[in-house]
């Protein structure tokens, strides 16, 4: 009995201590605490592991430990808006699971007292974690999830800097228009092939909707079975329809088989516009990189841009030093989102959530200061960045190069793709 009483007493003492917590908030905050939610373990951990160093670089820039000599980043140095308050990061792992995203967001907000949250890569996790932020009224910045629905939930505290899936496809059709103007050719008909997966089905639907909007006639609308052993009949039908542009959506194995079958059956499309995925995978390039010469695809960021954009080159040098890896799509987008948040906090001049939210709403960052090739960052009332722009890349001499938008291009568009008979 005595022991139980002692135990109870100990528990009570602990409770009192934990309930007291840190004392009240000072008028001028000394630090800004930001919770960063990414997958750090498990099968989908790569994005989290690659994004962590770039977020740390971002915090170091604001804390004055690292220099990125461009006006937008110089402005954030030492967080002048908060009189030199330091940025403190708390990383949390959600393993790609929506329920962990929710629990961690809640813990970061209520126990670590974060002033804002950044994350979470996986659309499903972003969905649950941002709901928690909404509930507690804490700004949530999402740099990369691509599910269009995320910004259609009517949330007040949710902001997304990255394009979503519909923007990407729109980029392809805008490219057609620009290309018609520039080269005086006509892209009036399209042939769509996509598989039965969710990604394929979604892509097919968006492409059909946008084709109608942009006045491109769909002369072939072909859904095929994923991971087929033969694509002969599909290629025959493409050949018969002979569209101005062939728009495939495929995972890797099908993408490779399509190229081989086209060669076999002598199908010579003038233009191929792929929906990312299989056509951009390293194994695709390895297997049929030479045969697939001239394949176009949409992409959010391309490594060849690093050389062309001084900001990206400078950041890449910092990233390389810390992580021994070139900057690519994921860290590039993550950094962009994180710096957007820091900019808002700096302008808010306070860690008050409502002040940060208002500053985020008023965000206006010019495109030339960004790592990404966007026109800038400005949020609409749903929290979606409206200044996003997809880029189009083309496979030339075994490597993807940026060919559109014209001002970001590192190569000219190869058109038409040489016929099989004319290749050596």
């Amino acid at each position: 009995m005595k022991r139980i009483a002692a135990g109870l007493l100990a528990v009570l003492v602990l409770l009192v201590i934990s309930a007291a917590g840190p004392a009240g908030v000072a008028a001028q905050p000394k630090e800004v605490v930001i919770g960063v939610l990414y997958p750090m373990s498990g099968p989908n951990a790569q994005p989290g592991i690659d994004n962590k160093p770039v977020i740390e670089i971002g915090a170091d820039i604001a804390n004055g430990a690292v220099d990125l000599p461009f006006p937008f980043y110089q402005k954030l140095k030492g967080m002048p808006g908060l009189k030199g308050a330091k940025i403190r990061l708390i990383f949390a792992d959600h393993q790609g699971k929506p329920e962990l995203g929710q629990a961690e967001a809640e813990r970061l907000i209520t126990q670590e007292k974060v002033h804002a949250l950044v994350g979470c890569w996986h659309s499903g996790v972003t969905a649950t974690a941002s709901q928690v932020a909404e509930r507690y009224g804490i700004p949530f910045l999402n740099p990369e999830s691509s599910s269009p629905g995320l910004t259609r939930r009517g949330l007040k505290w949710f902001f997304r800097t990255s394009p979503h899936d519909e923007h990407f496809t729109q980029g392809m059709f805008e490219f057609f228009r620009d290309f018609e103007k520039k080269r005086g050719v006509k892209i009036a008909t399209a042939g769509l092939t996509y598989d039965t997966s969710l990604f394929g089905a979604d892509s097919g639907k968006v492409m059909k909707d946008l084709a109608k909007k942009y006045g491109v006639e769909v002369v072939l609308d072909l859904q095929y079975k994923e991971r087929s052993t033969s694509l002969q009949s599909e290629v025959q039908r493409l050949k018969a329809a002979n569209p101005d542009v062939w728009m495939p959506t495929s995972y890797q194995t099908d993408a490779i088989l399509f190229v081989r079958t086209s060669k076999q059956l002598d199908y010579n499309p003038k233009m191929i516009m792929a929906q990312n995925a299989g056509h951009l995978s390293p194994d695709f390039i390895k297997a049929v990189g030479k045969e697939a010469e001239g394949t176009l695809s949409r992409a959010p960021f391309s490594t060849d841009l690093i050389a062309k954009r001084p900001v990206a080159a400078a950041l890449n040098a910092l990233y390389m030093k810390r992580h021994s890896k070139d900057l690519y799509d994921f860290p590039a987008r993550s950094f962009t989102g994180f710096m957007t948040l820091l900019d808002a906090i700096n302008r808010a001049g306070s860690t008050d959530p409502e002040a940060i939210r208002k500053a985020l709403v008023a965000t206006s960052i010019p495109g030339d200061q960004l790592i990404m090739t966007w026109e800038g960052i400005k949020f609409d009332e749903t929290g979606q960045n409206t200044q996003v722009r997809a880029i189009i890349v083309q496979l030339q001499e075994g490597k993807y190069h940026t060919v559109w938008p014209w001002d970001s291009a590192t190569r000219e568009v190869l058109y038409p793709i040489p016929a099989w008979a004319d290749r050596k």
Binding site: L15, M40, S41, G42, A45, G48, I49, K52, I90, F91, A92, D93, Q95, K97, P98, E99, L100, Q102, A103, E106, R107, T110, Q111, S123, G124, A127, T128, Q131, R135, S147, G149, R153, T196, L198, A201
Partner: protein, 328 residues
């Protein structure tokens, strides 16, 4: 029961009462959401493992497809709530009905298999159902379902945004229900049939036990309780997708919790959840942000240690301590 005279039952009962009171008082003492969340997860996984224990622990049929029933419970109530505005409580009943129906349809052929083959077949069923849901566009496919947020908090809508206390008590209620059902089965005729089947199916059949019918009954009870857990999860997390409510890893985790605590005992699954969930949450909170997966390493090592040194689970460990105590 151990030979300790009449004192033991009284003691046990007192201990249980104290535990129950502590559980009831917990939210009043811990007001931060995170400790409450950990307790809710203990109750939820405790209830799921208790449900699994009925089919696997008592009846001896190792099911590795429990996620099917969990997912059905989650999807049924969420879709009825979203599309028909039906309160998730009614959706929970619908989910239970559907899960029981599916358990009977699937169980009928699958129960022809025994032992490992049965376990393998349940894995296959789980994978098939997950694949179907991923490709089923009408119910959201791989994108999942957002449970619409309704304010203010209400019991009818099964949503509480201001405080986790309601979720806490509902989860506790779910666990108590699962325990009560198990207790009832343990002492009923069906409970003896179940255990007879577990010990020797052919002998049970020879004694006149309708083996298939009893197995189907055990599975139905297990499926019903698991589906209720699914509805709770959906209302608690407010977002479900096939990857979070239908995965094989969930079926295995349920099994792991029960095995760790002690299979075929009333309190084993609860004990397993009470150890495993805080361990998982604790290691992740302390080490998860490092990106080195240390938390998972420690978590895995502890599970291996327990299964190597005490394959009977924590209940066996307790029983051993008890017999050692009374022998002295």
């Amino acid at each position: 029961m151990a030979p300790a005279g009449t004192l033991r039952p009284v003691l046990t009962r007192g201990l249980l009462l104290a535990g129950l009171l502590a559980a009831l008082a917990f939210p009043a003492v811990f007001t931060l959401p995170f400790p409450r969340h950990v307790m809710i997860m203990i109750f939820l996984y405790g209830a799921l493992a208790t449900a699994w224990n009925i089919i696997a622990g008592y009846c001896g049929q190792i099911s590795l497809g429990q996620a099917v029933f969990f997912g059905i419970g989650a999807y049924t109530s969420s879709l009825l709530f979203r599309d028909a505005g039906m309160t998730p409580w009614a959706g929970m009943i619908a989910g239970v009905a559907l899960a029981v129906g599916v358990s009977q349809v699937v169980g009928y052929p699958v129960f022809r298999l025994r032992g490992h083959y049965f376990a393998i077949a349940t894995i296959a069923v789980g994978e098939i159902v997950q694949a179907l849901v991923v490709d089923w566009d009408a119910i959201g496919g791989a994108r999942g379902v957002f449970v619409p947020i309704r304010r203010p908090d209400s019991l009818v809508n099964f949503q509480f945004h201001q405080s986790k206390a309601f979720y806490y008590y509902i989860a506790l209620g779910l666990l108590l229900l699962a325990l009560a059902v198990t207790r009832r089965i343990e002492r009923s005729r069906a409970g003896y049939y179940f255990r007879a089947i577990r010990e020797d199916q052919d002998a049970a059949a020879a004694l006149g036990v309708n083996v298939r019918r009893e197995k189907l009954r055990a599975l139905a009870v297990s499926a019903a309780l698991t589906a209720m857990g699914g509805t709770f999860y959906a209302q608690y997390i407010l977002f479900i997708d096939p990857e979070s409510v239908f995965p094989l890893s969930l079926s295995i985790l349920i099994c792991l919790v029960a095995v760790l605590g002690g299979v075929g005992t009333l309190w084993g699954p609860v004990l397993g959840a009470a150890v495993l969930v805080p361990l998982q949450e604790g290691t992740r909170v302390m080490l998860g942000g490092t990106g080195k997966a240390l938390d998972l390493l420690i978590y895995g090592a502890l599970i291996i240690a327990i299964s190597v040194f005490q394959p009977g689970g924590l209940m066996a460990l307790l029983a051993r301590a008890r017999t050692a105590g009374s022998a002295r």
